[in-house]
Point group: C2
């Protein structure tokens, strides 16, 4: 996976989380995922599949960060925090991958998006099964970090 | 999701795990997924995406069951059990969803497969974000249960 493919995910992440999530995400230096370690406590994951490209996108939030985002999104309306976090992470996962998809389509790589799944648990580990490198981009916010992982395997 | 869509996943599961995994999986009564509970300790999950259908497939193994399958697949060759389990669950997830995909294509529903991701952790929870029901099929084996979850949203 080269830089041409990760930048659309970084751009969409900043765009979605600053406009919708009300936080100011600062991207840190990307690195290759090494080992199975999960980064956050709650992770949204979505499959990307097409004839030319297939892969996986994940966004993993620390507890403090996602609680702040949910509070920004819902204000006083939080009814059931755990359910609201799941719904918010699902929506954020869809919107980031949708934004990246639109930018990648302009570059000639088209794929469809599967439905997002949310994984939670303090010690969960996620491994993407691919012989392509998985790129991790850490982001800082005032309320804690979150992490974007993307892997895209292009056939052409 | 109607029965027409779950049967290809059940058929492919029995086929792959009896021929490749060397176990004799007995399907139990399917039910709708209710709540976030994860079923096994290690789960393979893969996104399914196309213009006509999108969804998610997961297979979640109890520890005893996946250890037996890995032992059947590798014999004396186990080098690193945790890594071998991850590799085996990735391969099984690909093969089951590939088998179901072929059967569904014959019925007129085509989709591409994303890359599988493996989630592990004793208390991990997985929620598929969809307004469609998620069907869970428990399977018994002599070495412990495993669980298939599928959700497929068809546009036509």
């Amino acid at each position: 996976m080269n830089v041409e493919f990760i930048n659309p995910f970084i751009n969409a992440t900043i765009n979605v989380l600053s406009t919708m999530g009300g936080v100011n995400p600062k991207p840190q230096k990307p690195h290759l995922k090494n080992g199975n370690r999960s980064y956050g406590e709650v992770t949204g994951i979505i499959g990307l599949a097409g004839k030319e490209a297939k892969g996986s996108f994940a966004v993993s939030f620390s507890r403090g960060c996602i609680e702040k985002i949910v509070s920004n999104m819902l204000g006083e309306d939080i009814q059931d925090l755990e359910q609201d976090i799941i719904d918010a992470v699902g929506e954020i996962t869809n919107m980031i991958s949708g934004g990246a998809r639109a930018e990648l389509e302009n570059k000639g790589y088209s794929f469809e998006m599967a439905i997002p799944s949310i994984v939670s648990g303090k010690d969960h580990k996620i491994v993407h099964i691919t012989d392509f490198p998985v790129i991790v981009v850490p982001f800082d916010t005032d309320d804690g970090p979150f992490f974007v992982e993307a892997c895209l395997k292009c056939e052409k």
